[in-house]
Amino acid sequence: MPAWLRKLPLYLLVVAVVIWIVAPFLWLIISSLSYKVDLLSIPLQWIPRRITMENYQELFLYQGSFNVNAALFTSSIINSMVIASVATFIAMILGVLAAYALARVKFRGSDAYMVIMMGAQMIPPIAIVIPLYVVLRKLNLYDTYLGIVLVYQSFILPLVIWLMRSYFATIPAELEEAARIDGCTRLQALVRIVLPLSGPGLVSVLIFAFIASWNEYLYAFIYSSVTAKTLPVLIGEFSTKLGLEYLRIASAGVIASLPPIILALIFQKYLIKGLTAGAIKG
């Protein structure tokens, strides 16, 4: 039996895997680039003979002019960007400090704090949604950036701590000890020695946190109505209310997927390392 024939079953399996992973998303992209009449024909044409950007244009400009729905779509993209960036930034600062202490400093109760952080992730979001709703209403933080950014810390902060902690553990402690003998304080050793060495770890955790906040639905759905509405919430509304506007939903879905998918593909090596180190979801 020639070598290529022996490899044939393997390649057939690989092709099956690729189709399974790619086909649904590819269909979403094809749909978003199609004319409605072409997609609604029976039997269905899988590869369209002509493509259009019409569906995308309609999201931003309704019938050639800017209108309320188009304004809402643009502002939801901006909201998602701002909320995900600020939430990630805050979680990185608080999380990196805590993770460093948990990985490096031997102090009373450090194990207990680690279990607390892990326990926080085991609490279902829907169980804390109700009291947080009442609190946000009282503090006038309902439907504000700040309210959602704060609530997002509930899942990003433990994620950052958990992942950064396992990354810090891989950096040799001798380097810090040498710096401290040279007169650095612990904080200086962290800022001048450990953080510069943690570049890849910081980047991967940053991407994880950003993707997790960008994709979040439930909190944003419940805690926003107009001004802080994020892109996932708007897409949810499209697909529960718009009825037949499948193509607009498809193009909005493609737009919402692009940032996380592009980031994930660019930084996949780091992300995969982070996933395996932390055994945790973004």
Partner: protein, 311 residues
């Protein structure tokens, strides 16, 4: 004056010592994050427990009262709740079985040498990175009764004679909800198992081949035991997530229907709280379900925690 100067100095020294001491340093670094998590996660969680002992209906505030375990007792006889608990259990457990079988299977394929291996492995991250709400909208479009790709594919392949209204059938609706979930969650298992597979030294397989072990026996006695811990962790996590996280999936694809057959727990809680405005009862649903998941959660924390200690 002299004595007070000495006192001041020693106080300063003591503060300084305290400041540089490991305990204080570690604690002060963890403190901000700890306070944040306490305020945003644990306080509401405790508050939710308190709420679950109350009758607190926004539509009938005059009836608000502390009723102890009243909500919980009502829940045990609430068919809608028990039905959604069953739906969640079916959704979560069937999903996990497919995620593990497919996830491990795909990992075994991708662990072999072939042209384009890096590219195909990279593709696995695509469903994982996609927003869950887009995943839901995407599958809803595929399942569409009139123009969906599923109907088109199955009629063109000759499996079906005519288009089906898939989501009107309780069994099909649940199966398709699980399919959408499995597509998104399987890569997580694959990525973890693939990493575990790469950690197995080739010498083990060489030795087994010298001893004449078949491929099946190599899998059974070398590969399987070595990937088992990772598989266990992903199974626990994904069982818990299956109860906690599929809100947008079910809300968008089926809306809990038909006849509440896919009304998963998060949907039930949402309906009780934000539709019926029964905050106390909604909190009790959330709490009782969390308690049921406590056992897998503790198992997960213990396994993961052991991993930390071994580090």
């Amino acid at each position: 004056m002299n004595s007070s100067g000495v006192l001041r100095l020693s106080l300063l020294e003591r503060t300084k010592k305290l400041f540089v001491s490991e305990n204080w340093f570690g604690f002060s670094l963890v403190m901000p994050a700890l306070i944040a998590v306490f305020i945003i996660v644990f306080l509401p969680f405790v508050d939710s427990l308190w709420l679950s002992f109350q009758r607190h209906d926004l539509t009938r505030p005059q009836n608000d009262a502390f009723i102890g375990l009243g909500n919980y007792i009502n829940l045990l006889g609430d068919d809608r709740y028990l039905g959604s608990l069953r739906a969640s259990a079916v959704f979560s457990l069937v999903s996990v079985v497919f995620e593990v079988v497919l996830g491990v299977g795909i990992a075994l394929v991708l662990n072999r040498k072939f042209i384009g291996q890096g590219f195909v492995r990279g593709l696995m991250i695509l469903p994982w990175a996609m927003p869950a709400v887009v995943n839901a909208a995407m599958w809803k479009w595929i399942y569409n009764a009139d123009y969906g790709a599923l109907n088109a594919l199955m009629t063109q392949l000759g499996i079906l004679d005519e288009y089906q209204v898939w989501l009107a059938n309780p069994v099909a609706a649940m199966a398709l909800l699980i399919l959408a979930n499995v597509w998104k969650e399987t890569p997580f298992t694959t990525i973890l198992v693939l990493a575990a597979l790469q950690g197995i030294p080739d010498t083990l397989y060489e030795a087994a081949r010298v001893d004449g072990a078949s491929a099946w026996h190599q899998f059974l006695y070398i590969t399987f035991p070595l990937i088992l811990p990772v598989v266990m962790v992903t199974m626990l996590l994904q069982t818990i997530w299956g109860f906690h996280h599929p809100f947008e999936l079910a809300y968008i694809i089926t809306g809990g229907g038909p006849y509440s057959s896919t009304e998963l727990i998060p949907l039930r809680i949402y309906a009780q709280t934000f539709r019926s405005l029964r905050f106390g009862y909604g909190a009790a649903v959330a709490y009782l379900t969390s308690l049921l998941l406590l056992i897998p959660a503790i198992f997960y924390i213990r396994t993961a925690y052991k991993k930390i200690v071994e580090y």
